[in-house]
C-alpha cells in the first residue's frame, strides 16, 4: 500500500436516505501505481463516475479510505484537499467546462490563479502548456470561438499547467468525432509516456479503454475485472 500512488480500501458510497437510498459503490479495493494509464470502464449507472470523483478527492466516501502516496486522505482538512487537487491533479471533462466568454489563455491560467501564482509566471507556464497541445497561437481567442477538439485541447492544457501527477479524464472524447478524438487520445497518452503523468480515464468507449495499459471494469458498484494488458509494455 505504501508504494502505490492511489489505493482504496473497502470504498462505499451511498446516496439518499430511507426509501430513496442508493448504493453507488459497494466496496472497492484498488491500487494504482504512479505512471499507469488506467481505464475505468462500465455502463452508465455502474458507479464508474462516482469512483472517479472519490479518487479525485472531489467527494468523500460513505465508508472506506483512500490513500494518496500512502496518506489517508479522509483525515485531511479541506484546505489540504483543495491544495492537493490543485497541485497534484488535472481534470479533463466530457463537456469541457470552460469559461466561454474568457480567452483561451485565461482558461488555461485558472488553476495557477487559484494557486496564487504571480501574473507573469502563470502566463509563461500557460503558454508552455498551450504549446504542448499546439494551441499557443490561439491564446488570445475567445474560448467560445474554438472547435470542440480545440476546446478539449485547451482543457488538457489547463489540466497539465500545474504539472500534476495524475490526470482524471471523464469521457474525454465523448463529445468529439473519431478523428478529433484520436488526436486528443494521442496527446493524453503522450503525456503519460513522456512525462510519466498517471492517466485515469473514465469511459464506456471500449476502443479508448483498450489503449490504456490497464482496464478496471465496474458493474453495479463493484469491480468485476481488473486486467493489465501489455504488462510491462513499452515505456
Amino acid at each position: 500500500m505504501t508504494n502505490a500512488l492511489l489505493s482504496t480500501n473497502g470504498l462505499k458510497k451511498i446516496y439518499g436516505k430511507n426509501d430513496t437510498i442508493f448504493e453507488a459503490l459497494k466496496g472497492i479495493d484498488l491500487k494504482i501505481e504512479a505512471g499507469e494509464s488506467v481505464a475505468i470502464v462500465g455502463k452508465s449507472g455502474s458507479g464508474k463516475s462516482t469512483l472517479m470523483h472519490l479518487l479525485a478527492l472531489l467527494d468523500k466516501p460513505t465508508e472506506g479510505e483512500i490513500y494518496l502516496n500512502g496518506r489517508n486522505t479522509s483525515k485531511l482538512k479541506n484546505r489540504k484537499l483543495n491544495r492537493l487537487r490543485n497541485k497534484e491533479f488535472g481534470f479533463v471533462f466530457q463537456s469541457f467546462f470552460m469559461n466561454a466568454n474568457d480567452t483561451v489563455l485565461n482558461n488555461v491560467i485558472l488553476p495557477l490563479k487559484i494557486a496564487g501564482i504571480s501574473r507573469r509566471e502563470r502566463k509563461r507556464r500557460a503558454m508552455e502548456a498551450l504549446e504542448v497541445v499546439e494551441l499557443d497561437d490561439k491564446f488570445k481567442n475567445k474560448a467560445s470561438d474554438l472547435s470542440g477538439g480545440q476546446k478539449q485541447r485547451v482543457c488538457i492544457a489547463r489540466a497539465i499547467v500545474n504539472n500534476p501527477k495524475v490526470i482524471f479524464a471523464d469521457e474525454p472524447t465523448g463529445n468529439l468525432d473519431t478523428a478529433t478524438g484520436e488526436k486528443i487520445e494521442k496527446i493524453l497518452f503522450d503525456l503519460n509516456r513522456k512525462k510519466g503523468i498517471t492517466l485515469i480515464i473514465v469511459t464506456h468507449d471500449e476502443e479508448l479503454a483498450a489503449k490504456c495499459k490497464r482496464q478496471i471494469r465496474i458493474a453495479d458498484g463493484l469491480v468485476v475485472s481488473d486486467e493489465k494488458v501489455k504488462k510491462g509494455g513499452k515505456k
Binding site: H53, A56, L58, R79, R85
Partner: protein, 434 residues
Amino acid sequence: MKTLDILRDANANLWRNKIRSFLTILAIFIGSFTIILNSAINAGVNDFMDKQISNMGGDGYLEMMPTEAYDTAMDLLGSNGVKEYTEDKDSSNASVYIKDEQIEKIGDIEGIKSFHVLANSTADYVTSDRTDKRYRLALNLVVPGISFDMSNGRTPSTEDDGPYEIAVNEDLARALGYEDVSEIVDQTIQIAVPSNLKCYTATKRSKCQTILDVKVTGTQAPGILSMGGSRGSLSLWNRINEINFEGMPAETNRSYQATADVEPDKIDEVKAALEEIGLKAMSVDDEVGMFRTFFDAILIVFNIFGAIALIAASIGIINTLFMSVQERTREIGLDKALGMSNGRVFFSFSAEAILLGFWGSFVGVIVSIILGTVASNLAHETFLKDFPTFTLTIFEPLTMIGIVAIIMLIAFLAGTLPARKASKKNPIDALRYE
C-alpha cells in the same frame, strides 16, 4: 487565490451583465445620493448657524432674565399646563425685575467678562422724510462687545454719552423709502417715543409722544437671529427709557433683562451660577437650538427615505447575486474542483457585492457634488439671495468617504447570503448542473 485577482475578476464579472449590474448600481445610487445630499445640506445649514452665532459676538453672548419671569412666560404660553395661583406666583411679570443684590452677584460670577442691565425702552413708530407712512419699531439695543452682521455702514455707538444712532434692518430701510438700502446710511429718521404716564391720560396718542431725530449708521444683514429688529445706540436707548418713565416713581423703572459677555468655554458654569441666583440665561446657541432641532427633524425624515432606498437596493444586490450564483454554478464547481476554497468562493461573490456598493455610492458622491453645487449656486441667485453667507451644500471629504464605506459595508452584508450559497455548493453537483 490572490485577493487582487479576486477583486479584478469580481469587477469583470459585474460588467458581464451590464444591464443587471447597472440597474442594481442605479438603485444603490438613488439611496446614497439622497443621504449624501442630505448630509451636505446639513453641513451647509450648520455652517450657516455657526456663522450666525459668531456674528452675534460668538459663543460668549448670554441674555438673562429672572427665572420667575421666564417661568411665568412659559406658564402663560401654556407649555407647562394649567397652573394654580399663589401669592408669589401670579399671572403677570409686573413685579418681576432684576434686583440690586442679583446685579451685585452677577459681577462676582467667574467667567463673566462684562454684563449690562437693559433698561425698559419702547418706541411707538418710526418714519422718514421719504415717506408719509409710520411703521412700528422693534427696537433692540446694541450690546458692547458684540459684533453684528452689517451689510452697510457701521454699528451704532455704545458710549453712555454718544449720539442718538440706529442700525435698521434692510426691510425697514426699504419701507422708509430707501429702495437702495445703502443710501439710508448717514440719513436722519424720526422715532416717536411715548411717555407712559402722559399717555395714561392723553386724549390723543400724539399728545404724549416725543419725536427724536436719530441718525442711521448702517443696515443690518438679514439673518435668522436679527430678522425684524433694529439696533439703537446706548444713549438713544437710555433717552427712550427716560421719556417712557417721565414723571413716574423710580421704583417703577426697573429692568428685567441683562446681557453678558462670557468666556465661551465657561458658558455652562456661568449659566448654572446665574440659575442659582435666580436668573435664567440663554446663549445664542440655545436660541438657535430651536431652529436647529426643527431642521434636524426634516433631515432625519429625508435620511429615512434614503435608508429605505438603500434597503430596497440591498434586496436588489441580493437578487442580482443570487442570479449570478445560479448562472455561474458550473463555473463555481470548476473553481472548487480545481482547488478553490469555500472562503475564497465566498469572498469572490461578496467582492462583487462590495463593488456594487462602491460604484453606486461613488457615483452618488460625484452626482451629488455636481448637482449640489449647481443647486447651491442657483439658490444664491434666488431664494437665498438675502443670505449671502448661507452655502446650501457643503461636501466634507471625510463624511463622503464615511458614507461610501458604510454603503459598501451594507452591500457586503447583503451579499453574504448569495455568497454563502455559492461557497456551500458541492463541486460535483455544480459541475453536473445544466
